[in-house]
């Protein structure tokens, strides 16, 4: 596990230190009219922009769910359900996972920017993030089992419906993030990881974290 990465050239250090050639690198010529707002010296690698686009659309989807929940809460048949306590534990697990990933990201980042000539066991932190992420999904499954044992199913009442739908869709997104993390680990081990891929995965992961906190508050609140 104590992987030490020390082969700088193979890691694509992103495009922040030197202007890289090739696609997407639109070092614009001086425009004719002198003022062009979007002219930049370089374009970021697509993943860095793409991830914000992805997060925007996921955020929009959950906003739609939120509005549905708010509207539905106004109906008379809304019964508030007590959240299974395991959720709070899961929250800690997910935050810890985010933390682990951030540690890994910073270490690799420092290495890529040549601030450190070698980086101490970034994969260990990545594996930890991966493991904690899986633990979170397992914990969510535990929460569903707890609800089931109370006789609360998807269609029992609107609150349980929303609980299952929101947690399940969030868990699906987390699983997607786990796939991304696994891909990062794979690419790191092969020394073909790009900084932009790592950053994008990390942002996604942190976003899942924040989204989960948001959902937790939303489900916990008695509006």
């Amino acid at each position: 596990m104590a992987t030490t990465v020390h082969e700088p050239p193979k890691i694509d250090a992103g495009r922040d230190s030197t202007r890289l050639p090739g696609n997407g690198n639109s070092r614009n010529l001086v425009p004719a009219d002198g003022k062009l707002p979007a002219v930049r010296d370089y374009s970021p690698p697509p993943a860095s922009t793409g991830i914000w686009v992805v997060l925007a659309s996921i955020g929009m989807s959950f906003l739609a769910f939120t509005s549905a929940l708010v509207v539905r809460k106004a109906a008379l048949d809304w019964q508030h359900l007590t959240l299974p306590p395991i959720l709070y534990l899961n929250t800690l697990v997910l935050i810890a996972s985010s933390f682990a990933l951030e540690v890994a990201r910073r270490r690799i980042g420092a290495f890529m920017r040549r601030r450190e000539s070698q980086v101490a066991s970034p994969t260990r932190w990545l594996y930890m993030a991966l493991f904690l992420g899986l633990l979170f999904v397992a914990g969510q499954y535990g929460a569903w089992l707890q609800l089931r044992s109370q006789g609360l199913y998807l269609s029992t009442n609107p609150n349980s419906s929303f609980f299952y739908v929101l947690t399940a869709i969030h868990a699906l997104h987390v699983l997607g993030g786990l796939t991304g993390l696994a891909r990062v680990v794979y690419r790191l081990n092969k020394s073909i990881l790009r900084k932009s891929t790592l950053d994008a995965t990390a942002y996604y992961w942190h976003f899942m974290d924040g989204l989960w906190l948001y959902l937790l508050v939303l489900l916990w609140m008695k509006l």
């Binding site: 697509p46 686009v53 929009m60 998807l154």
Partner: protein
């Protein structure tokens, strides 16, 4: 990789060699664009055939259409259309047209093919997502069409799928069980496909521009695809959750949209407390931007085609772009006008009415810029420019009827009548189709290396233009007379005197429809036997005309990406080429017109 001398080198992936990688699961945006175009072509033929069946039925209710019973197990006993089959055809016609034609053709098809080329990129940044985007959409189409052959047929709930008609299941009518579920699955998948597409479009525009290609140097078509993808990102992200909740109401017994205490066939339905207005809000929050998702790429394409054929730039490139953007932003604030009589708070109706009226301002600006740009132009008449001008005429005609529907007080009389049907068919149906046609006649030489037949193109235009007016103008009259939409027949009532007008429309629709076969023939014939096209047959300026070969090579620009030196539409100048200079040409030229 760190070698600066490799600047502008393009050597990412070698062209694929196997048939499957080349034509089926291709990562090449151009192939994906053509695949989208093919899908739209199949979809539009299906959609048009469905509309023929409906039109014949509306004109001559008891007419037995030979072979109709083959389409549906129960829908046409003795080839006479039943009410449920009519509604099923109508729902499928609308769903196919709105999603699989008007969204895919101008946006996903042309956008995929030309956006990366117009910004000077060798491909989209996420080719695998791009491929998935098409195949998910394709499967979504298959799922939708499969509902014709499953259970009691497709859903009859209309493309808006209002709850609780859509949420209560088979009790509300044939196809409302498995039909609705398949519909919702299909649309949810479609959303996924378009979200992936939008992701690519946005990142392409922001990150993949070549040297010198600032945002303001993007051609109008690229701008329209970019703005549309921003709309798509938010709109489809809202429709997908709505579809998921709808599916759950069917298969899991939840009550998101299904209200309590519904009594159908004397049985109290086992749901409680669902909100039917919630569906309408979620749907129209998607639905109104969807109208602009269908029309804004058309506007961009038409502007692009028109500029080339006017041989002069638009009065203002930026004002047009700002207007597209204003349409996009306002489109989210006006969706409530679909719900004026839906039991929404009447104060909200009023509040939605004003942005709806205000959205006419950017639309008017766009039309006036087009008209003003025509002044003093050296207009070339060809099939592409005819369809572009036809687009403007149609957009005006369909647009002014929006005045009536924007106001709750006049909407009382016209809501859910043929007036609405006429309005949106003109403005987002026919106009968007004209945009697609203009794009096809214009870009076909680039896409296939052959010219389309100009004479056939003009014949196609004349029938389509006159035909579209003959079909859809009378819809407005029908609406004024109170003819309610989604009626499969007119029982002895005040609508029966309108039947002759319906018969006239039916005949016009059949003639216009047959004229589309001319286009189809032209498309296929020219694909294989058309006159070979030069690299820049229209003397156009944007980057798609600077590719080293026609059609462009796998990586679009060969081994060197172009550099951009000019605004996109340098027409009416003095240059070595004549009256235009290409974006990628370093030649400095003197503008001859620009004193304003």
């Amino acid at each position: 990789m760190h070698d600066a001398s490799a600047h502008n080198q393009v050597a990412h992936h070698a062209p694929p060699t196997s048939f499957i990688r080349k034509h089926v699961f291709s990562l090449d945006h151009k192939v994906i664009g053509k695949q989208y175009y093919g899908l739209a072509l199949v979809a539009v033929l299906v959609g048009m055939a469905l509309s023929w069946l409906m039109r014949i039925h509306l004109g001559w209710t008891n007419f037995a259409i030979p072979g109709l019973h083959l389409l549906s197990k129960n829908g046409a006993p003795g080839n006479v259309m039943t009410p449920e089959f009519y509604l099923q055809l109508m729902t499928m016609h609308a769903t196919i047209m709105v999603f699989f034609v008007l969204t895919t053709a101008p946006f996903a098809a042309f956008g995929n093919y030309f956006l990366p080329i117009q910004v000077g990129a060798e491909d989209m940044p996420f080719p695998h997502f791009n491929m998935m985007s098409f195949w998910v959409t394709f499967v979504a189409f298959l799922v939708l069409v499969s509902s014709f052959f499953v259970g009691q047929g497709p859903t009859l709930g209309g493309w808006t799928q209002y709850a609780p008609l859509s949420a209560l299941g088979e009790v509300t009518g044939p196809g409302q069980g498995s039909g609705v579920v398949l519909w919702a699955i299909s649309i949810a998948m479609f959303c996924v496909g378009q979200l992936l597409g939008s992701l690519n479009f946005i990142t392409t525009t922001l990150d993949m521009r070549t040297r010198g290609m600032s945002l303001w140097r993007l051609p109008l078509s690229s701008w329209s695809w970019f703005i549309t993808s921003c709309m798509g990102l938010t709109a489809f992200a809202v429709l997908m959750p709505a579809c998921i909740l709808l599916i759950l109401d069917h298969v899991a017994g939840t009550s998101f949209f299904a209200p309590g205490g519904s009594v159908i066939n004397d049985q109290v339905q086992p749901h409680s407390g669902g909100s039917t207005l919630l569906w309408q809000h979620l749907f129209w929050f998607f639905g109104h931007p969807e109208v602009y998702i269908a029309i804004v790429p058309g506007m961009g394409i038409v502007s692009h085609v028109l500029v080339t054929n006017m041989r002069k730039p638009m009065l203002s490139h930026r004002v047009l772009v700002y207007s597209f953007g204003a349409l996009a932003v306002l489109s989210y604030m006006v969706y409530g006008h679909h719900m004026f009589v839906s039991g929404m708070n009447p104060v909200s109706s009023l509040a939605f009415s004003f942005p709806t009226l205000i959205i006419t301002i950017p639309s008017t600006v766009i039309v006036l810029i087009w008209l003003g740009s025509l002044y003093g132009a050296k207009l070339r008449i060809n099939a592409a420019s005819l369809f572009s001008l036809g687009f403007i005429s149609m957009f005006i005609a369909g647009g002014v009827s929006g005045f009536f529907l924007a106001q709750p007080s006049t909407d009382i009389m016209l809501h859910a009548t043929y007036f609405v049907v006429g309005h949106f068919h003109m403005v987002m149906g026919v106009a968007a189709m004209f945009g697609i046609f203009a794009g096809t006649y214009f870009w076909f030489p680039k896409m296939f290396g052959r010219m389309m037949n100009e004479t056939l193109g003009r014949i196609h235009f004349w029938f389509s233009f006159v035909g579209a007016y003959a079909i859809f103008m009378p819809f407005h009259y029908l609406g004024m007379a109170g003819n309610v939409r989604r009626y499969q027949a007119f029982t002895p009532d005040y609508m029966q005197p309108l039947v002759p007008l319906h018969q006239f429309i039916t005949i016009a629709a059949l003639v216009t429809g047959v004229a589309q076969l001319v286009f189809l023939y032209n498309l296929f014939h020219s694909r294989f036997w058309g006159k070979p096209a030069s690299d820049n047959p229209w003397q156009a300026t944007s980057l798609e005309w600077s590719t080293p070969t026609t059609p462009p090579p796998h990586n679009n620009f060969g081994d060197k990406l172009p550099e951009v030196y000019h605004d996109p539409y340098q027409y009416g100048v003095e240059s070595s080429l004549g009256d235009y200079v290409m974006q990628a040409s370093p030649e400095q030229v003197k503008t001859v017109h620009d004193e304003a």
